[in-house]
Amino acid sequence: MMWRASGFRAWLLQRVSAVYMAVYILLFMLHLAFDAPDSYQEWRAWMMLPFIAVASFVFFAMLLTHAWIGLRDVIIDYVHPVGIRFVLLALVAGGLLMLGVWVLRILLMGVS
């Protein structure tokens, strides 16, 4: 099945991802405020806890999805020639997918 983020689904996804990111960012900042890591070992040990690594990867997946829907709306609003619009949308989609693979390798495969 073709999965397209358009209409109601995009609207809902934008809000679900926003709420997840808001909660993640607040908790991450609380952690930095009250229990900031003060060495590489401590930082890595915390980020690589399975729960934190997965929650952080989900954060980036939500961020990239949110960015796609937002950038797509901006491009469609301001870029009218169909050819340029298509190229821009393709570049953004490809770029965001590559960022997703990059962060997946860092957080879930330990490659950095």
């Binding site: 809000r15 926003a18 709420v19 808001a22 960012i25 590489y40 070992q41 930082w43 890595r44 980020m47 690589m48 980036f60 961020l63 990239l64 960015a67 937002g70 950038l71 901006v74 960022l99 990059w102 962060v103 860092i106 957080l107 950095s112």
Partner: protein, 127 residues
């Protein structure tokens, strides 16, 4: 009655036209969103670098200490707090809270102002 384009009234008194505060919020929401998108690759780069090894971690901290990066980080802290607060305002409006024009203008003014708190504090203690 038809009026041709040349004869339409023009109102361009720059001292009296104001971009409505709700429009300022909306445009700022877009600009901050696009700006933060541009920052994503650098955030992921820093994350990877900081997790690689002890040298990478020190390098990432050194990058964050660079004066130009600090200025960019303060700008990004404005982008995030404005986008965050304006987003909460949009969610409340979706739930039909604060839809009336007066309430919408008041909340827009509040968001535009409150979005400045974190970056100003950060600029004061960190720049």
């Amino acid at each position: 009655m038809m009026t041709d384009k040349k004869n339409r009234p023009v109102f361009l008194d720059l001292r009296r036209i104001r971009l409505p505060v709700v429009a300022v919020l909306s445009i700022a929401h877009r600009i901050t969103g696009v700006a933060m998108c541009l920052a994503i690759p650098f955030i992921i780069y820093l994350l990877g670098l900081s997790l690689r090894d002890a040298q990478g971690y020190a390098q990432a901290l050194a990058i964050l200490d660079n004066p130009i990066i600090r200025v960019l980080a303060v700008f990004l802290s404005w982008a995030l707090s404005h986008h965050f607060l304006a987003g909460i305002r949009f969610l409340l409006i979706d739930m039909e809270i604060g839809v009336e024009p007066d309430a919408a203008r008041r909340s827009a003014r509040l968001v535009n102002a409150a979005g400045l708190i974190v970056p100003v504090l950060l600029a004061v203690v960190w720049l």
